[in-house]
Subunit: 202 residues, 4 copies
């Protein structure tokens, strides 16, 4: 009786807002307060090359990863035109994983020596890739939701495979973080670079 399909415009607006805020909140973690008592240029350089420096690097990595995950959402919804209630719920779970990124980034920056703390960021990112993959699978399983002129069955299958490869690479990095600690973070960047390269060839 009531409407079953809704425009995805509002979902896109909420998603853009949540990503924009999560990406900007990351910067609150590198506030000047944690620089402590700095009274010379040399001390400032020291601060940047010690703890603050590693916080800064994880800020950059998290920002670029969130930016990439946003771009994945933007590209997915360029073809998805309608949403049902379930798609809205899956999208909310995906946003939950986005919102947790500033917290897990901060956690691994504060306790770099604890395996558990450094592991939560890759796990968070892994959850985000899985939810991205799940949302795409769900949306493309119902031909009422997407624009058939833009997405052929072949393309849909290809993109599903690509999503799974990406989700798998996030599993690998999570496992690696058990053994090599916070250094595993750095592997996200080449992984997403290779993934971008692969995506371009298609």
């Amino acid at each position: 009786m009531a409407k079953d399909l809704f425009s995805t415009r509002r979902m896109e607006a909420l998603t853009d807002g949540v990503f924009a805020i999560a990406m900007t909140l990351l910067v609150l973690d590198i506030s000047v307060d944690i620089l402590g008592n700095v009274s010379s240029n040399q001390q400032l350089i020291n601060a940047f090359t010690s703890d603050f420096g590693s916080s800064f690097i994880s800020f950059i990595i998290s920002f670029l990863l969130l930016g990439s995950m946003w771009a994945v959402h933007a590209r997915q919804f360029d073809s998805i035109k309608f949403a049902d209630r379930r798609l809205m719920m899956i999208n909310n779970f995906r946003l939950l994983a986005v919102v947790l990124i500033p917290f897990t980034t901060s956690l691994s920056g504060t306790f770099p020596e604890l395996t558990l703390a450094t592991m939560l960021f890759p796990l968070n990112f892994m959850a985000l890739t899985f939810l991205s993959s799940w949302e795409w699978s769900y949306a493309t399983s119902n031909s009422k939701l997407y624009d058939k002129n833009e997405l052929s069955g072949k393309t849909i299958n290809f993109l599903k495979v690509k999503n799974k490869i990406f989700a798998l690479s996030s599993v690998i990095v999570t496992v690696l973080s058990f053994f090599i600690g916070s250094w595993a973070f750095i592997l996200f960047l080449p992984v997403s670079y290779i993934w971008m390269k692969l995506a371009k060839r298609i």
Copy 2:
């Protein structure tokens, strides 16, 4: 003389922005600062299973409830095309209830042993459901505001009943929180699940 009806596009944009920020601000409440001095994986696990854990659970519940309340707004305004001044004011009161959610969540997380503190979150949520119901009643009472091709009189009445059922269930949870304290929170999730299920049958 001046225009009386305005496009709802701007109201939707403000609402998406306020929901996105409120949903993201919730995460500030589970900052690493409250973990205190943690120096081993075991201590981190302890922190997660004690106070921090309960904060984390109320964060998840509040996030999903806000997500559901956003989806209600998105679905309502899928059919509402124009706004008058009063609708804009009602929407602002609704956003006030949204903006208070991070505060009342934080309050019940910080003082879980005080009935008054734990009661404010359900009351806040109850106010949000009532305002959602009021805005829908008002918008559908003026046939200039909604799209008649999408909403029949029968659908409008049905949705009004549904809104009232939901508002009633939030009253029940608020009353329950007097007796069973913070455990009443957990009832919001099955209530909204049942509500989602019911909504699907229509």
Copy 3:
């Protein structure tokens, strides 16, 4: 040579974002931290009826005023279709006044006994009403910027007068705050209510 007129869509999006964030940031000022050591329901009631209570009231007032000022912007731009560089700059100054509201609200809440501190909030709000009035005057002075089918010369003049009445009432409240301190705040609500009523009669 280059384009002179731009769609107002982006200006609207930035404005909605800034208002949404400013309205939500207000809530950060009533965080649980300022409740201090509360260990019984009675102490929580005391906290709510003393300092915290007055903070809470100024939060509500600021939120509703910002909501009203947002509605003014939304209604103005319902008829304004194009922006030139100067309109973009005026809008940025207006957003500056919006962004300062959480700060001046917080200032008058923290130092309610200092005339200077309580005066800054009405001055801030006054600046916002003046800038709103200026932006409307500028936009309606260039017939390329607005939709002539929606705005007659008579309507434009009427709305200019209305804007000036509102700006004047904010001057009165500012002057009053010199003599009656923070109580002058409360006058904003009836003023904006009367203003809403007047606006409806047009």
Copy 4:
């Protein structure tokens, strides 16, 4: 196989969100906490004319500069209609420079006596102008991305030159900050004013 070109609508929404939040976060740096113990109007005036005053001025400058950089983005994308993956990535790097502005503003406000700290804000702004220039160059190098009816080859070349003049003026201010410290900030405003004037003549 997969789509190569996407609507710029989502990129615009993310950018508006990030700018809106960065512009509003600036205000968090001038919170009442840094006023310290103030108990008379005279003390409040003293606070405003000393450290707090200089923080306030850098807040205003940063806000207006971010507003101008947002307007540059809005005007650029008024003609750019489609985005490929690379343009999305360049835009994310540009947003990274936007998000860092509140941090570098805060840094130069907290340590005004350290050359290194005051230098980071102009460097940040310089990076933002360079990325703006790069994104425009990239977008206009591919005729599939922009609207040929709105942008002639002559206009594109002219705007490229203008972007480079602006990027150059940010280099000059950065070099100046080595010698005259935080006073160099003040030069950004006349530079952007002259630049606005020049832009109008075109």
